[in-house]
């Protein structure tokens, strides 16, 4: 069962740290050379538990968040930047890393080099998909022996063995790994996260996006791109470009606590930073990173060494007239209100479900903002305005107190830019968030 031959789009797109890049596959290269870690052409028409579609590990790490969060009652002491952070970085975190195709020594070298947010991956409807999940430990916290899991949040009819909730399921102790299997039947936007010590591990950054492409994809008769959010039957969810907007937040005290062997009272939770795909504005519009060097470590985005472990860009670029899909995910601990005042969004799906009643009644609606709670997803499509010169729009959190970075002038937080170019200016999109 695990070695059957299949020709699927999955094999065409093997996703790494959230982006694309190379036409090479890791399997065609000597593994000691490292690999792109990104989208690779199919080298093999099979996958299995031993040869998974994606190999993720859980570990700790450090990221960069601008500004300062002082420790109350102290002088010149800060939760953020953490004084123990490596040079150029500020904030301790837990996270996943994509080590697909890396050697054992390269994988071990990723200890304390996780990324925020987690590697993005997607699966075709009815496709068999194998994930290997490893746990290489928390280098800053040798006192801890936390296991890790991968919970595919929202997966219908999940079996506990692959659900990753540690009461009902299995978890991966430090130094070990296990294979996970998914065959999703329901297209749409989901998220994944570690469920072990979930309040802490989710908040510390073990969160990412996963989505399922519908069987209808490829039907260019319904929409020219042949790309759809759901099996709509009428092309109403067709789109040209897609962008994941994964929202998380950072309570600087809790992150500092974890680095300094302290415990927060989570009911005192109060976020200081509001992140989009692991970064705060204006870093959200910096380029994608995600390529790997010869050691298997992440190569920083061009011009942004501080964003080495935050590889996913939220910059949205499109041509006039194109339909742009925004896959909104909320892994903060609160409701968020993402707003685009200059653009009209059509909400076509929620929580990986086409918005239709059981009798087919459409529940689509047009809006300038999507208000959605923790653990929820929204699929919204806007049509890029018919501009003749490059034009910028903003996508930002209308919870306006979440539009700042502490101690930093100007706007920040959960915001990004949408650059609409005149028709035909930029080539077709080859991977999400590019």
């Amino acid at each position: 069962m695990s070695k059957q031959l299949r020709l699927s789009r999955r094999n065409f797109l093997k996703v790494g740290s959230g982006l694309l890049a190379s036409a090479f596959t890791s399997r065609l290269l000597p593994k000691t050379l490292g690999h792109s870690g990104e989208v690779a052409l199919a080298s093999s028409m099979m996958s299995s538990a031993e040869d998974p579609d994606i190999h993720l590990i859980g570990t700790d790490g450090w990221i960069y968040l601008p500004g300062q969060v002082p420790i109350p009652g102290t002088i010149d002491q800060y939760y953020n930047p953490d004084p123990w952070a490596p040079e150029g970085l500020t904030t301790y975190m837990f996270g996943f890393a994509n080590v697909t195709g890396l050697t054992d020594s390269q994988i071990k070298a990723r200890k304390m080099k996780a990324q925020a947010s987690a590697p993005l991956f997607w699966v075709d409807e009815n496709q068999e998909y194998f994930v290997r999940l490893g746990n290489i430990g928390l280098q800053m916290r040798p006192d801890l022996f936390d296991s890790h899991t991968l919970h595919w949040h929202g997966f219908r009819n999940a079996w506990p063995v692959f659900d990753g909730e540690p009461h009902s399921s299995l978890a991966v102790p430090m130094g070990e790994s296990m294979a996970l299997y998914y065959k999703p039947y329901d297209p749409g936007t989901y998220m994944y996260h570690c469920h072990f010590e979930e309040t802490e591990h989710v908040h510390m950054g073990m969160t990412g996006a996963v989505f399922v492409r519908p069987a209808q994809n490829g039907n260019t008769g319904l929409y020219p791109s042949g790309k759809f959010v759901y099996n709509d039957g009428d092309g109403s969810t067709g789109y040209d470009r897609e962008f994941v907007i994964n929202l998380t937040d950072v309570w600087a005290e809790a992150h500092w606590d974890d680095a300094h062997i302290q415990l927060p009272d989570w009911t005192s939770f109060r976020a200081d930073y509001f992140l989009m795909n692991g970064r705060v504005y204006p870093d959200t519009v910096a380029p994608n990173g995600g390529l790997l060097d010869a050691n298997g470590d992440l190569i920083p985005p061009a011009g942004h060494p501080e964003l080495q472990y935050q590889p996913i860009s939220s910059l949205i670029q499109c041509n006039a007239g194109e339909r742009v899909l925004l896959r909104f995910i909320n892994l903060t601990f609160a409701n968020q209100a993402m707003s685009t005042p200059g653009l009209k969004m059509k909400v076509v799906g929620k929580d990986a479900t086409l918005l239709r009643g059981r009798d087919g009644t459409s529940l689509f609606y047009d809006t300038n903002s999507v208000f959605y709670g923790a653990g929820q997803t929204i699929d919204a499509i806007f049509t890029a305005p018919d501009v003749t010169v490059p034009t910028k729009y903003m996508l930002y959190n209308r919870n306006l107190n979440r539009l700042y970075n502490p101690g930093v002038p100007g706007l920040g937080g959960q915001a990004t830019e949408i650059w609409v170019h005149p028709s035909g200016s930029i080539p077709a999109q080859t991977a999400p968030n590019t």
């Binding site: 069962m1 695990s2 299995s48 538990a49 068999e128 194998f130 916290r141 801890l144 936390d146 296991s147 929202g154 219908r156 009819n157 999940a158 079996w159 506990p160 659900d163 909730e165 540690p166 009461h167 009902s168 299995l170 978890a171 991966v172 102790p173 070990e176 790994s177 296990m178 294979a179 299997y181 065959k183 039947y185 072990f196 010590e197 979930e198 309040t199 802490e200 989710v202 908040h203 974890d258 415990l263 009272d265 989570w266 009911t267 601990f333 409701n335 929620k350 929580d351 990986a352 479900t353 009643g357 059981r358 009798d359 009644t361 529940l363 959605y372 709670g373 923790a374 653990g375 929820q376």
Partner: protein, 429 residues
């Protein structure tokens, strides 16, 4: 992190599960039993009355949090029964004239508002907000402190899930526990949530989840007869049906929770030809926060909000699926759900497509039986498993994850579970 706390909670789990699943005799709270002999260990516990006439007494007592703290609380009990928290789940039929007689034993005036019900009468005249001069002192007519009584009545015109709650000093009193649920059964029948064929559910799998919160300092101030400034309000405990996890999954009427009779463990079977109907969860947001509630492994189909079916003017179905249902303050949401065996994996014939690591290289959950529905495997020595017959468990929890903790202790907040048994006949006790 905080593995010691985690273990501490797990030790609670040992107690709870051993007592609950292995069938300790049900010595249930009086309200939950006396009028309802043979209540099931899971599922909604309805308080009913042939003439839909209920007597509620407002009184005080204590509830237990699973971190060991005891909280002073106020609530409604049926008749002059012992204190219970929250108030009873009143179930009536559409069209009934519902009468609620309130006796107030508390040191403050207490009233009841019935959101979603029209033309409520208080002592036979239309219930009205109460003013003292120009000052609003109650959202409706109240029973006076220390022994007063009042009678409310209304016709339950619309089926659905509703809240009832104090309308007097409500910021304090609802927080103290003066609330409960009202379920109105539709004319179409007991197996329907609304007067729609597509609202049919399995009556053996009907659940209610009252989501509330507690600021222990507020409760302490009231216990001491002090005032509490609501500007200082800060919830620290987050409860389902008045219990914190893992008490949430203990049976209805568990003997060690004498004042907290309502559990919230869902207990279902795979949906198939022999079990075609979905289960029903009735969610009620009691607190002042919104709760994004996330049951693992199934999308709920949201069929109604605030006791009104989601339908168009011509009866169009406007329901939708959600894997995280956001329930606002005072809102109710009805959700149909089911778990379907899509994969059909069986150990001997169609094994899962991966080889699991050796047992010593895994961390096992306390509910783990095996990878397979209906099968238990031998687990490493020393691993305590509460799994009885290879049943599956899936967590259901608030995804504002600070609210699944409580006052510094992880995993004692709004968490409950769904238990999925193998199809009948099975080997489950």
């Amino acid at each position: 992190m905080s593995s010691s706390k985690y273990k501490r909670i797990l030790s609670f789990l040992v107690l709870v599960l051993v007592l609950s699943l292995v069938g300790a005799p049900l010595q249930v709270g009086r309200t939950a039993t006396e009028d309802h002999t043979g209540i099931p260990s899971t599922g909604i516990v309805c308080t009913t009355n042939a003439s839909s006439t209920f007597t509620l007494s407002a009184n005080s007592g204590y509830i237990n949090m699973t971190d060991g703290n005891k909280i002073f609380a106020w609530s409604f009990a049926e008749g002059e029964d012992d204190f219970q928290f929250p108030g009873p789940v009143l179930c009536v039929n559409q069209g009934d004239t519902v009468t609620v007689v309130l006796h107030n034993h508390l040191p403050q005036d207490v009233s009841i508002v019935f959101p979603g019900q029209a033309n409520v009468l208080a002592n036979g005249v239309p219930a009205q907000p109460q003013f003292s001069g120009s000052e609003l002192v109650s959202l409706t007519n109240a029973a006076t402190a220390n022994g007063g009584s009042i009678t409310y009545s209304f016709i339950a015109e619309e089926p659905g899930t509703f809240l009832y709650q104090s309308g007097t000093n409500p910021g304090i009193q609802v927080q103290m526990g003066l609330f409960g649920a009202l379920v109105v059964r539709p004319a179409m029948g007991l197996n329907y949530a609304y007067n729609r064929a597509d609202s049919q559910f399995n009556p053996d799998a009907e659940y209610i989840l009252m989501l509330s919160e507690i600021d222990p300092l507020l409760h302490q101030a009231i216990e001491r007869g002090e005032t509490f400034d609501l500007n200082n309000y800060h919830a620290r405990y987050f409860l389902i049906n008045g219990r914190s996890f893992p008490d949430t999954i203990a049976p209805n009427g568990a003997s060690w929770l004498p004042t907290q009779p309502y559990g919230s463990l869902a207990h279902i079977y795979p949906q198939d030809a022999s079990n075609p109907l979905p289960a029903l969860s009735r969610y009620i947001g009691v607190g002042v926060e919104n709760y994004p509630f996330h049951p693992h492994a199934f999308n709920g189909r949201v069929i109604a909000r605030d006791g009104r079916p989601l339908e168009g003017p011509a009866g169009e179905d406007l329901s939708y699926e959600k894997f995280s249902i956001n329930i606002g303050p005072g809102q109710t949401t009805d959700s149909l759900f089911a778990w379907e065996d899509n994969y059909g994996w069986q150990e001997s014939t169609t094994p899962i497509p991966v080889t699991l690591p050796n047992q010593q290289n895994l961390t096992f959950g306390p509910f783990w039986g095996s990878a397979y529905l209906g099968t238990t495997e031998d687990l490493p020595t020393g691993h305590a498993s509460f799994n009885q017959c290879g049943e599956f468990y899936h967590i259901a929890h608030n995804h504002a994850l600070q609210q699944i903790t409580g006052w510094g202790v992880v995993l004692i907040g709004q968490v409950t579970f769904t238990r999925i048994d193998p199809p009948l006949p099975n080997n489950c006790p």
